[in-house]
Amino acid sequence: MSAFLTYLISGLAIGCTFALVGSGFVAIHRVTRVVNFAQGTFAVVAGMMAGSMLGHGLPHGLAEVIAVVLAGACGLAAGVIAIGKPGTPTLSSLVITLGIAIGAYAVEIVVWGDQPVSYQMARGSVDIAGAHIQTQYFVVIGATIAIFIALSLFFSRSYVGKALTACASNPYAARLAGINPIRMGLIAFTVGGVLGGLAGVLITPLQPVTFDADVALAVNGFAAAIFGGLNKPSAALVGGLVLGVTEALVAGYYNASYQTEVALGLMLAIMIWQARKRLSVVEEVH
């Protein structure tokens, strides 16, 4: 029982970071229709930046904020390159983001080296039902809850957030209202960068991050995001948590080598089941 609880909590925490990466995919895709392959890069950049800032003696909080701001700036820069030119086809933008992700490896190695980076955020552990659970996990879960609440308020209450939602809902009508799709796309890329950065500063204390950790993060984040058709941040949260917990349970009870494969297989099964349910509704209508 105590082992199960440990796996569950650690899985939820890792799942939270997948959900954050996934919601970054969603934030960008719903406005621009671009699947941003550089989404994992934002997390790696933020994780490494926070690590080196802390190494230089900056206090916690400040280091993470600087790292997340940097990730947001990287998001904006990626957006300018990928969608800044009016009329860039979506597929071209997608390939550009892939190029950015690969190009970023070189920069990361030059700036931070090729060794894994990690740091401690919260010390100690909490005892629940006989299980030692690192405080770190609760910090990640709490922060993610707060971020998702803020994100949903941003999209539903703020005027810019509503404009982003409007671009996702009906791009033509948004243009008629004077909402500039490229400017909104750049805001979306910045939000995506910030969300990726938040994932990075939260995951680095849990798993050391290397320059090429973006692939695993992006694969898991993307799987979480397509759970809601790449359009719903809340679905990305559910998807991320399912993935994280499954991976932790597979690693804990069976073999860590298969954790990602098993979790992605489960996601696939869930999505096929969902699609069948949707299909049967369509059949009933016709």
Binding site: Y159, T165, Y172, A173, A177, G178
Partner: protein, 247 residues
């Protein structure tokens, strides 16, 4: 207010508008009628800046807001949000985003404020689309297919609202319609657009008397034309529409 001169718009090699000129004066209601594919929506999208002309000019004093064909609401957002986003261009002006400005004119919208736009009936959606355009405080409202897919009684209600907006605020209206009866009844002047060219223009009374226009757009011939024209001069009586007043 709006002066369009010799406008040419192409989609690739296909010419959608081939030298279109028209004017709308301040406070005037002008109809643009024509068959499907004549270029009516192309024209209004060019006025809105969504399409760019190959040549010709659009001179606009003041602001133009478009009520697009098929309403084009933000379906998964509330009516109030739809209205607020209509004020995007003037968002920094204080009070510009307050949907109560539009509730004063279209009170029905206040009742629906919290509903998702996509769940409304066609007529309600058209009213939201008009309300969203009004949020931009337009000097000229370009309405693309007001009556499409709506019951006559709902159309006449919307028409009454337009008359009121025109009379009280002096807002000019450019009404793009397939239903020429409705357009001629509401407007003073009209243009007929066919295959990307203006083929007739004049007052609605004159156009309704012209045999070609009557045959093509009013579905009548011979003596009946005069009856329609006489009806059109009788201000306020909705010709060829079921019921008047509000629904």
């Amino acid at each position: 207010m709006l002066r369009v001169e010799d406008l040419v718009v192409r989609y690739g090699n296909a010419t959608a508008l081939d030298g279109v000129s028209l004017t709308v004066n301040a406070g005037e209601m002008v109809a643009l009628v024509g068959p499907n594919g004549a270029g009516k929506s192309t024209l209004v999208n060019t006025l809105s800046g969504v399409l760019s002309p190959v040549s010709g000019s659009v001179q606009l004093e003041g602001t133009l807001a478009q009520v697009p064909e098929g309403r084009q609401l933000f379906a998964d957002m509330s009516v109030a949000d739809n209205l607020q986003l209509g004020a995007w261009r003037s968002r920094r002006r204080s009070g510009a985003r307050d949907p109560r400005r539009v509730y004063a004119v279209l009170p029905d919208l206040e009742r629906m404020a919290g509903q998702l736009a996509g769940t409304l009936s066609g007529g309600q959606q058209q009213m939201v689309a008009v309300g969203r355009a009004l949020m931009a405080d337009p000097d000229i409202l370009a309405i693309d297919e007001l009556s499409l897919g709506l019951a006559p009684i709902i159309v006449s209600d919307l028409v009454e609202h337009l008359r009121m907006l025109n009379a009280e605020r002096g807002m000019a209206v450019l009404l793009i319609e397939q239903n020429a009866r409705l357009a001629f009844d509401l407007c003073e002047r009209a243009y007929v657009l066919e295959a990307g060219r203006i083929t007739s223009a004049g007052t609605c009374v004159e156009l309704a008397r012209s045999p070609e226009v009557a045959r093509a757009y009013l579905g009548v011939s011979g003596e009946a034309v005069t009856v329609i024209a006489a009806g059109a001069t009788d201000a306020g009586s909705p010709v060829g529409m079921a019921g008047g007043g509000s629904a």
